[in-house]
């Protein structure tokens, strides 16, 4: 249950899998993303509402053939350079995209978590998204005749999140901004959770939710594993690191050099932290 991140990725993530590394600004599982690069996973379909730096790193490293998303940028900074280069110039290779809205993605995760084949919302109507995204259809209300947008459930092969802590049985506790962390785990066939700390007993925390151990495939102790994202009450968002990423990621060689030097050359996230000095 509680194993190393290297073991968890080796055991649960395979080439060609559909993965959701979720986190809505808070609790983004950067360490897990790095381990996917280290182990050289390929042909991944990545799913995420807000792909940010870690997805940029995976895309630029050639791990990803498809991205399903609703907003792909560097919050407060600008573009995701590797994402743009892949879409605009097919570098390092072609990236297929499936584009939705936040509400549509949240609905798809919730449908997946609920064991429903699809979800519905008052959305997309009048936009060009439905013209380009085949996973947006309509459904008619059998009572009122209203037409609503319908989107298929998301059921990734592996849901990966970061959380504040777990107990030794693998019960996971999350508080602060909850995002779609619960839905990403419950919608996925398997799940990996990296945590700041592992304790004997989970002390009650206002606003916290608990995912019972039996819906989690692996818990990995990775302090700071969300950096430059954060874990409320353990760390703060490293905004300067996000800003610095813009320059690093703008240039293909600078990006490749950075990934080789800091991620691929590090044995694990602890070494990576020393390497980048955080």
């Amino acid at each position: 249950m509680v194993i190393s991140l290297r073991e968890a990725v080796a055991e649960h993530v395979h080439d060609g899998d559909m993965l959701a590394l979720e986190g809505f600004t808070h609790l983004i599982p950067h360490a897990a993303g790095h381990e996917l690069i280290r182990q050289g996973r390929r042909n991944l379909t990545l799913v995420r509402m807000t792909p940010d730096m870690v997805y940029d790193q995976l895309i630029g490293s050639g791990c990803v053939t498809k991205l399903t998303f609703s907003w792909g940028g560097n919050p407060g900074v600008g573009s995701l350079q590797r994402f743009r280069d892949a879409v605009e110039n097919q570098w390092p290779h072609r990236l297929e995209i499936e584009e939705h809205s936040h509400a549509g993605m949240a609905t798809r995760y919730a449908a997946g978590a609920a064991g429903l084949p699809f979800g519905m919302l008052r959305g997309y109507i009048g936009t060009d998204l439905a013209k380009h995204t085949t996973t947006i259809k309509t459904v008619e209300c059998p009572f009122t005749g209203e037409l609503l947008a319908a989107v298929p459930a998301l059921n990734p092969d592996v849901g990966i999140i970061h959380a504040q802590r777990s107990d030794r049985h693998g019960n996971v506790q999350i508080w602060g901004l909850l995002g779609v962390q619960k839905e990403a785990v419950l919608a996925s066939k398997r799940s990996i959770v990296t945590v700041e700390e592992i304790v004997d007993e989970l002390p009650p925390v206002p606003g916290a939710i608990v995912l019972p151990s039996w819906v989690v495939s692996a818990v990995c102790h990775v302090p700071g594993g969300a950096h430059p994202s954060y874990a409320l009450d353990f760390s703060v968002r490293d905004n300067s690191f996000y800003k610095a990423w813009d320059a690093i990621s703008k240039d293909r060689d600078a990006f490749t050099t950075w990934v080789d030097k800091h991620i691929t050359s590090s044995a694990d996230f602890a070494e990576y932290r020393q390497s980048v000095g955080i």
Partner: protein, 253 residues
């Protein structure tokens, strides 16, 4: 009279509008990071009846003491009346019609207030790939009214968007009703030069206000469609020292 930047000008004008709306009972704002968040937080400090800030990250009634740097800033959660999941904020709060005012911006705005934040050029082989929709399509669909805050230029204010990420008035009056949208759509476009509103008869954006020292020719030149002006175009009030001081203290916090 104090010097001010065009950002400060847009923020102050947006904050004034939010203050007036809150006083009239439309106080629930669905805010993103950047100018809207700054304007809403400024209004919270300038006016007795404060806007209620709701962030798509799930924070309801946030009262940040400093400006959040990201929509997921811890400060937002810690100062909220309630924090809910992202599926809930969109379903139970935005979609259900509990939001009075949403904010939108983008790379392109067309004359019917449709907005593009997806691609410049064709979707299949874009000249510029933009971040994408985020919460915009459903904010545009379900918010009681939408305020657009955007720098004005002929490149950004276009006859027709390359891609319609969120809908304003579609191809003109009646489209929102045809689409069965429950929200009111864009009511105010606040730029660095002017204030625009939809024409009641056509829903085309027309200039209703000019910022101090801005000429009609400047606005015409900065608009990609043949922009019309209402008969009695107002000039917006200069940002006051009090407004600017409050804003700068907020940004320095």
């Amino acid at each position: 009279m104090a010097e001010y930047t065009t950002d400060e000008l847009m923020i102050v004008n947006a904050a004034r509008k939010l203050g007036a709306l809150a006083a009239a009972g439309d106080s629930r704002c669905f805010v993103g990071i950047g100018l809207p968040s700054t304007a809403a937080n400024l209004a919270r400090r300038l006016y007795p009846i404060e806007p209620v800030l709701i962030y798509e990250s799930g924070c309801i009634g946030s009262k940040p003491t400093r400006l959040p740097l990201s929509i997921g800033d811890g400060e937002l959660a810690e100062t909220s009346d309630a924090v809910v999941s992202v599926p809930e904020i969109f379903a139970y709060w935005l979609q259900a019609g509990r939001i009075d005012i949403g904010f939108l911006s983008g790379a392109q705005l067309d004359k019917y207030a449709n907005i593009n934040s997806t691609v410049i050029g064709s979707y299949e082989s874009p000249k510029t790939r933009l971040p994408g929709a985020g919460g915009a399509p459903e904010i545009a669909a379900s918010a009681g009214a939408v305020m657009v805050i955007m720098r004005q230029s002929a490149r950004a204010f276009v006859e027709r968007c390359d891609f319609r990420t969120s809908i304003g008035y579609g191809d003109g009056k009646g489209d929102r009703e045809r689409f069965g949208l429950r929200g009111g759509g864009p009511k105010w476009v606040i730029t660095d030069l002017a204030v625009m509103e939809p024409d009641p008869d056509t829903c085309e954006l027309v200039v209703v206000g000019l910022h101090p020292g801005v000429s009609r020719d400047q606005v015409t030149a900065a608009t990609g469609w043949v922009v019309r002006f209402i008969d009695d175009v107002a000039t917006t009030d200069e940002p006051t020292d009090h407004e600017l001081d409050t804003l700068r203290r907020l940004q320095a916090a």
